[in-house]
């Protein structure tokens, strides 16, 4: 297999009294979709923020295309070519949709913002994600949860990243938009990008991910090839026990959409 585009080893991160990550390893190859799985509070978002430079790690090494790099602030990650969609969406509520899409990345002509160009590009992007937004000029504060999510996703596509990290991108999305985002992830993979996908939706994970890395209580708790692994195995790794609420519920409830895969 090719060299990993991104490789983390021994990443630890502590918040006050909470050791959120302990000696976590992870690697992503070009053209690979890695699902990062784990229970609530397992440390997934924390790991994403370490990579994105939002909350740099206390210790540990990050290698980018083989060479060690330091990621101390978000622009470091962006300059390497890492695009991130955060779980807490990181939009500016006071700005409108177009402005939010282009924050820190505005198009200008002769020093003046090229609103026309930005609005046109925004319209294209959102159309391609099949989302309906009454007007591109309302502050994002007034958008629905899913609309906000789509804005965040659209934003990451504006640059020309090599690795895209999506932290629960479809959590708030409708069925149509979810399908679009899954298509999108596949397109990104096919273009040779590395993708890190965090999701609690096993169906989505199984649909698009090549590999699944599991975190539990801030530590690595397994690394699976998705195709070879059963749903129950993954859930057991996430919850840390074969006897877990999911299994118990599956035992109780006869038929269920996503659990028989």
């Amino acid at each position: 297999m090719s060299e990993p585009v991104l490789e983390l080893s021994g990443i630890s991160k502590r918040f006050g009294a909470v050791q959120a990550l302990s000696e976590v390893d992870l690697r992503v190859h070009p053209g690979e979709v890695v699902a990062l799985l784990g229970d609530n509070g397992a440390g997934k978002s924390t790991l994403v923020k370490v990579i994105a430079g939002v909350n740099p790690a206390d210790t540990g090494e990050i290698r980018w295309e083989g060479r060690p790099v330091g990621i101390g602030k978000p622009s470091d990650a962006q300059n390497l070519g890492i695009a991130t969609i955060y779980q807490d969406l990181a939009l500016c509520d006071n700005l409108d949709i177009v402005a939010n899409l282009f924050i820190g990345n505005e198009r200008t002509t002769a020093g003046i913002l090229d609103e026309l160009e930005m609005e046109r590009r925004a319209q294209e992007l959102l159309d391609s994600l099949s989302v309906r937004i009454p007007s591109l000029r309302v502050p994002v504060a007034s958008l629905s949860g899913g609309q906000r999510q789509i804005i965040a996703i659209a934003r990451s596509l504006l640059g020309d990243p090599k690795v895209v990290m999506l932290d629960e991108p479809t959590a708030a999305l409708g069925v149509a938009q979810t399908a679009q985002v899954l298509d999108l992830i596949e397109r990104l993979r096919d273009k040779g990008l590395g993708v890190i996908l965090i999701s609690h939706n096993m169906a989505d994970v199984r649909a698009v991910a090549d590999r699944a890395a599991v975190l539990r209580l801030g530590r690595n708790a397994g690394d699976f090839h998705v195709e070879d692994t059963s749903y129950e195995e993954i859930v057991a790794a996430i919850t840390g026990a074969a006897d877990n609420p999911v299994a118990r519920r599956a035992g109780r409830v006869a038929v269920s959409g996503s659990e028989e895969a």
Partner: protein, 416 residues
Amino acid sequence: MAQQTPVANTAEGTRDPRLVVDTASPSGLLSGAVRRIRGGELGSLPVILGLIVIGVVFQSLNANFLTPQNLSNLAVQMVAVGLMSSGVIMVLLLGEIDLSVGSVAGVSGVVLAVCAVRYGLPEIVAIIAAVLTGLVIGTLHGTVFAKVGVPAFVVTLAGLIGWQGAQIYLLGSNGTINIGYDGAIAYLTQTYFVPVVGWAIGIAAVGLYFGSTFLGERRRIAAGLPAKSTAEVVVRTVLLAIPVFGAIAVFNQYKGVPLAFLIFVGFVVAFDLMLRKTRYGRMVFAVGGSAEAARRAGINVDLIRISVFALASALSAVGGILMVSRGFAVSQSSGGGDELMMAIAAAVIGGTSLFGGRGNAYSALLGGLVLYAIASGLFLLQMDSSVRFMITAAVLLIAVVLDSLSRRSRKTHARG
């Protein structure tokens, strides 16, 4: 038993069917405006209404209130604080506060006078030195705030006290320095343009507005984006032309358009363009809306913060220069009066939020007009200062109540 309503098969374009659109006809424009007013999206309208109320009330109490002379005085009176207020607005947009504007104006004024009078430097050099003083002070404030993390309130409170000390110290024992009645500094507030120049400036401004708006909307239409109709552009131009030409006509009946006021308006317009049309302005709004989101988007938040504080203090310095120019003198108390309160109040009355991310450059102009119009009217009526204070408070409240009531109807918190 699926009780299903038929799936509508309308050809839905890019327009969302839920969006209520105003037609391009004049009546459509009007009904759109009425709807926006009802919905609380009033913009500067309430403040303008407040100004009209103030004008009518005072004029009915004293016939001198709306004389060209008084209005012309008013326009120059508000300039110094108005400029400080412009700086305050920048800082408020960041969601921070600057308590040092008055002291910075004072110390810069002293630097100006000391350079020009005590050391006899050319007045233009003195002016540059004063502005630089502001710039350096602001950079200092911004750095301590952004890099060390001391709350802006504390940094600028220290500035408020410390720069006042510096001002008294620099003035030395003599207390007041007269700058003389001639010379570049004094002329800043003593110069009035002959009528034709005033009209030329007004026509150029309105024409520029119309031209750029019209072409902008044309380009939008060409790009297939929703755009304002030509009718709307014309109406907006007329709505701009009325106050502009009105003011020029009034000024021309006295001494002409005052240079000082033009400087102030020029700064306001420039700041408005900077805030709305440049990357820098966009970044200021972004940091004010959510510093964390801005940081994640790769914006150098510290740099924005430092630059905004630097700009704010530089503007205070310009305000200080005009303050000195108007009074022909600088003293130990210059800038130490109610300048700070007035500057912040003007910003807030004009519609800039204290909580960051919401506001506009015109607040300084509108809010400053409200405050100085009240003061001017009350001075004309010559009341005991105790009564004057109470009435000022009452008028201040009344002037913003309309705005507040309209804002209440527009709930901004509801989301998701």
